[in-house]
Amino acid sequence: MALATVLTLAACGGGSGSNSSRDNTLRIGFALNQRATLNLDPRLSSSTGEIYVLSALYSPLMRYVASSHSYTPYLATKVAEVDNKTIAVELRPGLKFSDGSDLTAEDAKATFESMAKNMVAGKAGGLNPGIAQLDNVEVTSPTSFVMHFKSPAVGFIYDMLSGRESYIVPSQATADQNTKPVGSGAFKLKSFVPGSKIEMVKADTFFDAANVKLDGLTFISVDEGNAMLNALRAHTVDIGAGSAFGGLDPSSFKTLSGDSRFGTLTYPSENFAYFDSCKAPGYAMNNLKLRQALVYGTDRPALAEAIYGSKDLRAIQIWRPGSPYYDQSIDDDFAYNPEKAKQLLAEGGVKEGQKLKLILTPIDPAGQPLSLVLKDQWAKIGIDLEVSVGDIVTDHYVPASEHKTKYDASLSVLSREPSQRLSINFTLNTIRNICNYNDPKILAMIDKLQAISPNDPAAPAAWAEASRYLAETGALLPLSGRPTLAGWDKKRVDGVSEETLGRLAVDSIQYEKLSIKN
């Protein structure tokens, strides 16, 4: 009776799916409450997922163009490599912050130097670690500046200039920037209820405001997965954002794809899941032959098919098919070969039934099914994979000596900037190098790659060399790519494409290119 009464009231009230109360504001589902802190000051960015909110408030200096694998100036008009440690940037003239003040090279200097300082002090874990290599920024005019790095940086600078590291804040910004942000983006903050809702309105100060079709954005807290699916189907949100852009897992994406009222889009992201092993002495994975055997004993196309329903999402090397750095011969040379795997295990003295303890962290919803398929595949070559759930704080991002439980490997997801895919896992004394693996050859490759610009014709060969070495030594075992899974209300939202969504958790989302259908 009580339920009937409130339902009648709800129906009379127009309900949640009514169009009557909507305006030209895009409602985005986003798990605002899954993070301890959501930083609105890019200088303090602590998680990669913050890009979904930050990219509405700030604009990058450059943008990545997926179709040509190139970078094009955005807030900047020109970016020039002086040498591999020096980059000159020219800003658009007349840029304004959302409070109406001028955006100048002095603001850029203060922002970059503050970010570098915060990264060194461990205050900004969401930023590209490369920013720590910044030595200083020299202002050459109100609209131009030169970035000087301590070591070669052209290998990663373009990722930084198209990512959150290039979100400029006023040079006089105080701690208030984190709650009352002043940015250069297409939108400005209207209200922020932590863990619940963020409302933004169009910023007339944005340099391309004339082409922004939305009046505003509202981020509504929705957990990823099934809750996001329900929120979309109930028209509580228009589009989802999150770790797989749409905040959808493979299962909920599949359900949404079958509903003609919704638009769905999937494409391989630059991210991939991998088997991250502890290769220190005393651990089973210290054995080179065992690592090599696992490379051949893993059927990656079958794994991708089982999890995502597409062999295209296989990950045998660290670049996805279609990338200019992808090398088909590596996929061919390290294809599934269980007989060779067994031979390598015998050569390495690995006994039948060798146990490997794998921990899962709750980062990747696909981790559990991935591990189950892996367990099945490796049982065929005589490896017994024990899977247990670990904790990201006490098991993963801590030195091996402090692991709460001793384990041989974890399933990890690389969702950082592509240029960081070697350095983030193998640089000594860094948190992602789980057992502080020291391979001088890989360290030399990191140095080499950081000195090669993505525009350099030598870049593909250098990356292919690194990919091949990782496969030969089994130092890092990619398992599957991760798709971008976007879902939106087709009758309401226009403009969703691979270009507007960009590279998952790396590029700015181009919200200004989305619109509401009337």
């Binding site: 009776m1 009580a2 339920l3 409130v6 339902l7 009231l9 709800a10 129906a11 009230g13 309900g15 949640s16 799916g17 009514s18 589902g29 798990a31 605002l32 409450n33 301890a36 802190t37 000051d41 200088r43 303090l44 503050s114 300082k117 002090a121 461990g122 205050k123 874990g125 105080t174 701690a175 920037q177 984190n178 209820v193 932590p194 863990g195 619940s196 809702k197 509504i220 807290s221 929705v222 957990d223 099934n226 809750a227 329900n230 929120a231 189907r233 109930a234 028209h235 509580t236 949100v237 904790d391 704080v393 006490t394 991002y397 801590v398 030195p399 402090e402 004394n429 860094t430 948190i431």
Partner: protein
């Protein structure tokens, strides 16, 4: 009556003391060093760990920390989060990070949990009492048997499963209620606030409403056979007068006990329901605090749950006194 309240309040003192000691001891077990590690940043040096322990006050003896913590806790000051940080302007210029205030954060999220809990309690009473009265007044009838089956279903159905069904039906299917989220009264108005709580509230309320209905039915059917009720009938009292004037007052002791228990159980239920509906309340906070070893936040949340529970129990005891003069001290 005042004597009863004073006695109940006095009895709370040792309870609160024991629970605060237990909360503090439990928090020691989840790893203060790890909390310092989180604060000290990635790959902390020994010096950074020592500094972090100083900042967090972990370099002091346990007894000193406990006394200091109790001193602050009685003023509802639970310190600052070890993990959730906020930037503040540094003295020498620039920005530094400090933990957010636990009290302020709880003050932000607690109203959300309280809203869900109160709406669930309201639904539980609105469903449980009428169903119990019908069963108690007309035992053995088809209405009674139907409500008994309904109560059994209510007790058997898990709240999260019911929540998912209701979302599927009311939010996704009919589109009359929101599938996720929470709005404050200031933000969405009274209706905006209420409509976000209908599904989570109802999902949480079904179990407690079934318990209340069963207890109410049992209590009322006993009372309805009493001599004083027969006397009331003999005097020509109407049915509503017999029920509400004479029978109900003596039949509500058991349902009241169940309601008090249900209120505290509802707090446990919100952990799952808040996750399902994306409500950033106390339930989610306790999960994230445990997972991130945020000791002050965890202590604060547990203390607020404790205060809520003892307040409900105190009010229940006082209500007993009003309903039944026999429990009042002489």
């Amino acid at each position: 009556m005042l004597n009863l309240i004073a006695r109940r309040l006095a009895a709370l003192i040792p309870t609160i003391f024991i629970v605060t000691a237990a909360v503090f001891a439990l928090s020691l077990g989840i790893g203060m060093d790890k909390a310092a590690g989180v604060r000290a940043g990635d790959n902390p040096s020994v010096e950074a760990m020592i500094k972090a322990k100083e900042i967090l006050g972990l370099d002091k003896p346990v007894t000193t920390r406990y006394v200091e913590w109790v001193e602050r806790a009685v003023q509802l000051d639970f310190g600052r989060s070890f993990v959730s940080l906020e930037p503040v302007d540094a003295e020498g210029g620039g920005t530094t990070l400090r933990g957010i205030s636990v009290r302020e954060h709880i003050a932000t999220v607690f109203p959300r949990t309280l809203s869900v809990t109160l709406i669930a309690a309201l639904f539980a009473l609105l469903i449980g009492i009428p169903v119990g009265i019908i069963g108690g007044v007309w035992p053995g009838t088809i209405v009674d048997r139907t409500s008994a089956i309904g109560a059994m279903i209510g007790l058997a159905v898990p709240s999260f499963w019911l929540a998912m069904l209701l979302v599927s039906w009311l939010a996704v299917g009919l589109g009359v209620l929101p599938a996720v989220g929470y709005e404050t009264v200031a933000d969405g108005g009274l209706w905006g606030w209420f409509k976000h709580l209908i599904i989570p509230g109802f999902a949480l309320a079904l179990g407690p409403s079934a318990m209340i209905a069963r207890q109410m039915r049992a209590g009322l059917s006993d009372v309805m056979g009493s001599p004083y009720i027969r006397t009331a009938w003999a005097k020509g009292a109407s049915l509503p007068r017999v029920i509400f004037r004479h029978a109900l007052r003596n039949a509500t002791s058991a349902p009241l006990t169940v309601f008090a228990l249900a209120m505290t159980q509802l707090l446990g239920g919100v952990v799952i329901v808040e996750s399902l509906f994306g409500i950033d309340g106390m339930g989610r906070l306790i999960v994230t605090s445990v997972r991130s070893n945020d000791v002050p936040m965890l202590q604060g949340v547990v203390m607020v749950f404790l205060l809520f529970t003892v307040t409900v129990n105190l009010l229940t005891d006082i209500a007993y006194g009003f309903l039944n003069p026999k429990v009042r001290p002489a």
